[in-house]
Symmetry: none
Subunit: 420 residues, 2 copies
């Protein structure tokens, strides 16, 4: 028993829209424990659509369609499905009435084309749409094959999925064994090296462990099949414990944790505060920190010293040092961190100065060169990072901000350990 997601729409093939429906349905199927091995995208073309139905109906038992239920001539999902299974369409008076009612509610005339949306295959049940005009179907055109259709508008699709499809799928007894997962997050180690360190775990079958590379970070996903969250936890917890021990300080958090949230928790636990001084990131570090609700408890603000004059006047960077060492230097990074710590009167000052590119690089200071300054209780230090010069400006800025947070995380974590 496995499900297949089929998204219909030429706009997907032209790249005009992002296929967020496929991700939503994938998450939902995993949560319900219904296996899902294939997704297909096909345009509003009856021949190709029928070809996709033919392939999918041979290898999957639940076909979930999104898109192509609208009133316009290029909406032909329902027609193609009915045609493929040799079943005639039939107008459903209760749908015509529902569409007419929705139009009158909005004070709009019902278009003739809307009647098309009331044509469903003989034998198919209506999958109701609470606020759009396009209903879907739940239909078993033959034994061991179930078809569900949804409109492409994400809000309507999700509502119909939750209100009708989930209870229906559960009532059929499908999805007994959901997948429960935990995503462990690491910073400061490559995917390959982490995978090598935890190689023995990658062959496990329940739970499985799989590595992923993100922007600057690496993740390990532990996924368990189990009849309940409690049972899954007994499978996941011991593996998680061992993986975290192997990774040591490179492990920083799990699931929805981010470097910013983890740093926030460390600061809050210690009753400490933070201010930032940003050059090449231009506010990105502050934005990451303040993405966390409640960050005002420990993040007091910062200074975006994009222009050198701002480094001098707002942060107290020494003009002679700026001249001698340049804005992208260990000396200036440290002075920025000290300056913002003093001006905002916080426990920690964290700074970033670097060359985000694409221009501005030199032989000695190439694009991707970033200095992070950190000033704290009895501590002023800096870290030099060389990111790949070919990476784009945005990636360099984001990864730099991540490294800055990571350095503060390591500093506080190490101190906490040595205090024990």
């Amino acid at each position: 028993m496995s499900a297949e997601v089929i998204c219909v729409g030429t706009e997907l093939l032209l790249g005009d829209i992002l296929n967020s429906n496929a991700q939503y349905l994938a998450q939902q199927l995993a949560g319900l424990g219904i296996p899902h091995y294939y997704q297909s995208v096909v345009g509003d073309n009856p021949g190709r659509l029928k070809q996709v139905i033919e392939i999918a109906s041979r290898r999957s038992q639940i076909l979930i369609f999104t898109g192509g239920l609208g009133p316009t001539p290029d909406d032909l999902t329902t027609e193609a499905i009915a045609d493929f299974f040799g079943t005639p369409l039939q107008e459903r008076p209760e749908i015509v009435a529902d569409i007419a009612r929705k139009h009158s509610l909005r004070g709009r005339p019902m278009a003739d084309s809307n009647r098309k949306q009331a044509l469903l295959p003989v034998g198919a049940a209506v999958l109701p749409n609470s606020f759009g005009t396009a209903p879907g179907i739940i239909w078993q055109p033959r034994p061991n094959l179930t078809i569900l259709t949804f409109p492409g508008v994400p809000s309507e699709m999700k509502r119909m999925w939750q209100e009708t499809a989930v209870p229906y799928l559960q009532s059929q007894g499908w999805g007994k064994e959901p997948i429960y997962s935990r995503m462990l997050r690491f910073w400061g180690i490559s995917e390959a090296l982490l995978a090598e360190k935890v190689a023995a775990f990658l062959d496990l079958t329940n739970p499985t462990v799989a590595p992923y590379a993100g922007q600057g970070e690496v993740k390990l996903r532990i996924a368990a099949k189990a009849e309940s969250a409690a049972v899954a936890e007994t499978l996941i917890a011991p593996v998680e414990k061992q993986l975290r021990e192997i990774a040591g300080i490179d492990y920083y958090g799990a699931d929805n944790d981010s470097l910013a949230s983890v740093v926030g928790e460390l600061l809050q636990a210690a009753g400490e505060t933070l201010a930032v001084a940003e050059s090449c990131t231009g506010g990105g570090l502050g934005q990451m920190l303040t993405a966390i609700p409640g960050s005002s408890n420990y993040f007091w603000g910062g200074i975006i010293s994009y222009h050198n004059q701002a480094k001098i006047s707002l942060l107290g960077v020494n003009p002679a040092d700026l001249e001698e060492f340049g804005a992208v230097s260990d000396v200036v990074a440290q002075q920025m961190a000290v300056g913002v710590k003093n001006r905002l009167n916080t426990t920690w000052g964290l700074s970033i100065t670097g060359i985000a590119g694409p221009g501005g690089g030199t032989e000695v200071k190439p694009v991707g060169l970033v200095y992070i300054g950190l000033a704290g209780p009895n501590l002023v230090t800096n870290f030099k990072i060389q990111l790949h010069p070919q990476q784009d400006r945005n990636a360099i800025r984001q990864i730099s901000a991540g490294h800055a947070l990571d350095q503060l995380r390591r500093q506080i974590t190490t101190r906490n350990l040595s205090h024990r």
Copy 2:
């Protein structure tokens, strides 16, 4: 001649990541004029992957794979492709050398598992990866079938696509009638209202005009089929001109323009400078401005005054006003804008203070209430915005920053018009 996109990765089937690669490739193929009728997603499973290759190789002539090129055991795209076509893999010494070089640049040891990434099918050309360790292939395993593979990391995939795949596909003479498109961008008008204003254009056939809603913005996509860019331009230009006239000042730019780039051009043209003072956006406005290369010509920096004390000490906001009107008020927004303009000695000061949620809202000042302050030559003003309180924190922050830039844009544009 048509292309098919095949995205490989169990994380896609579990909904752990959004398939943005498929959208990017779809846009690119449309731009090149290479027809694209199917997309498939399949997990890291050799049997199912080979089944997908079998189907795709029967109906499409260019197969574009993303994902599964990493160093870990579950990365098996290259292996499965070679296996399907009965071709052995061969280690490429130049790739091993390249991977070793990249590791040493970053001061990290190369893992043994990275050698796996140097195994390519005999006869396949290398599709180089400038900064990641995973190269792709360009391979014709049989006449009239071309295979291109890319890693799943979007930044690497895009770079490889642009640097190598596009020139290759063009050199093969594929893509005779490309779709040329222009995306017009609007701020300060709803999708429904804009669509109503331009209703007559939505029925055009070449070019077509289609509306899209973005985050805070609305877009109209004009798309023309033509044998050359010059011919497309003769189709698009008159429609664009009329649409821009209808929209007036709500139109702000096209294609890759952003509010930040447009504001930057206006400032640079006027020889003026900008500083920002941010509360709820925490640096997001500065980040948007500095995402534009060359922004140091007009953006001098800013102050992230997250804590009220920072509003007083760094921006000179009056403590009595803070007490009386609250941090989220027209009075404080204006004082922040004036304060940052004076401290950074710029032409303009732009500020944001608001309630991004999810907590912190009250009956009088609900989540989504945002004040924008603007100080400029002979001008101090503010704008009140009420975003939907149910929107998430991130959206409220991003849209607020957009509104701030849009207000500055309108101010400068209107002044320029009245000066004429």
